[in-house]
Symmetry: C2
Subunit: 260 residues, 2 copies
DNA sequence: CGTTGGCTTGACGAGCTTCAACTACCGTGG
DNA sequence: CCACGGTAGTTGAAGCTCGTCAAGCCAACG
């Protein structure tokens, strides 16, 4: 399937989909905090009005790439010589099992680097999949290393990013090893809520929530069936409501109590 | 309880304990690959004969520390301004839950840095506990950063270490989220076997295996009771034998098949 | 209009936990 | 010297959490 087919699909979607909570302003925030910008590799998008349309125009040119929802950005075998950053949309990074199972180890939001570890050696066996339509940007390792030679202080910034990734991975292990299904799902939602709030992508109680139940299951080490049941219990008890790929957090403190 | 009491206990242990598989040669190998040595912070111990006794003599002086089995090296609250390296012995790094449960996220062997992430900001909520008697060495952040200023090429080495830690954490998440108890335990053993082989600490089919079942449980997200049953099944089926804190790997390829 | 993917629900069973009792092994102190 | 207490490991029975299987619904899509 060619590039044009993907684009056609994207166009159709954006024509009929309800307006997303996340807009130009939110993506500006993402750009402002993006590692790529600190590296002066990416100029970001300061023009508030035109942010979305400029992204649109740039996608498919230069180092920008646009990819449709549900498609994979990086394949496990591929060993790339580039580091990629999410400009807009949601993606997930997962490790696959021979039997068909997989564990999602990170949920990537605008401004995130797919992994800072790629700068040294691409992590083996990961595949990255777009949850929504995604615009991302790739930078060649060589370019990044050149910048680092001139500005060694930025190395510290990369180290911080990697340390955070490690911390998140350990936190995930704690969840998977020691917490119940309810706690895991509650924590997933609360963590996403906090990150989206940082990005200014929460409006009142509502936030985008494009994850399929299959993806929630893969992220929490559960089955889609069980995720459905837990999610139902949480909505029946009035903690949250999910509709139209968006989530209303009705009782944050209650949910926090469940998350323990 | 004072330092002297700990030392007394250590002396008693080493007087009566059967000779460990790991000896002076093994620890030389650990030193040779240690990050601290590449940084020229630690000279290592080249004198093959005297390695163990020199470590013994140095412990408690300079930046060397000796700690008895089962005691904790770093507390979760403590925010240290140093990075620590394991010189000899086994340790585990764990995250604790309010309810008393904990998840071991890393098993540390000689030559390992407790975490490369400590160089940027100490990871929160971890506690590090000695499995066996441990000798470790601490370096002040300031000293490390000074070395880095002079030799920026070493930064790459740190990045690699951190990326490896991240990879291991993701692998752990995959295990905890998607594999059975048998697979987890088999993989734990095989991973340790491979690491010890790298350190030249495997003699024939035997290797040191000082982990308590409680610690195996904490590392695999299981209960000690279930670990006991799985271990029993594995020994009954002739895959391995555990006695005297050492493990004989009788059927590595069989175990690998279980590990999938 | 049939197909497909996502979600839902119920019945059933496997895998692991919990609880409890018992053994063995130390090191300690009477 | 033996009695004692704490830690580690073992075993069996019962129960809960979550997975598996199966059926059905709905919306989107070709």
């Amino acid at each position: 399937m060619g590039q044009s087919a993907i684009f056609a699909k994207v166009e159709a979607r954006s024509a009929f989909a309800p307006p997303s909570v996340s807009g130009a302003i939110a993506e500006r925030r993402a750009c402002a905090n993006c590692l790529a910008r600190e590296f002066s590799l990416c100029s970001g998008f300061d023009d508030r009005q035109k942010h979305a349309s400029r992204l649109e125009a740039l996608s498919g040119r230069d180092s920008f790439h646009r990819i449709a929802a549900r498609r994979t950005i990086t394949h496990p075998r591929e060993n790339s010589d580039a580091v990629a950053f999410i400009c807009s949309g949601w993606a997930v990074s997962a490790m696959a099992l021979a039997g068909g199972g997989r564990q999602i180890t990170a949920i990537l939001l605008p401004g995130d680097v797919i992994s800072a570890a790629d700068l040294v050696a691409p992590l083996r066996g990961r595949s990255v999949e777009a949850v929504t339509d995604v615009v991302y940007r790739k930078f060649k390792l060589g370019d990044l290393r050149t910048v680092l030679r001139d500005r060694p202080d930025l190395m510290f910034r990369i180290l911080t990013a990697l340390a955070r990734e490690r911390d998140a991975a350990d936190q995930l292990a704690l969840d998977l090893g020691r917490r119940t299904s309810e706690q895991r799902i509650a924590r997933l939602i609360l963590a996403l809520h906090a990150r989206l709030a940082d990005l200014d992508m929460v409006r009142g109680v509502r936030m985008d929530f494009p994850l399929r139940q299959r993806q929630i299951a893969d992220a929490t080490g559960l089955t889609p069936v069980h995720v459905c049941k837990v999610l139902r219990a949480l909505t029946d008890d009035g903690y949250l409501r999910i509709e139209d790929r968006s989530l209303a957090l009705l009782d944050p403190s209650g949910l926090q109590q469940i998350a323990a």
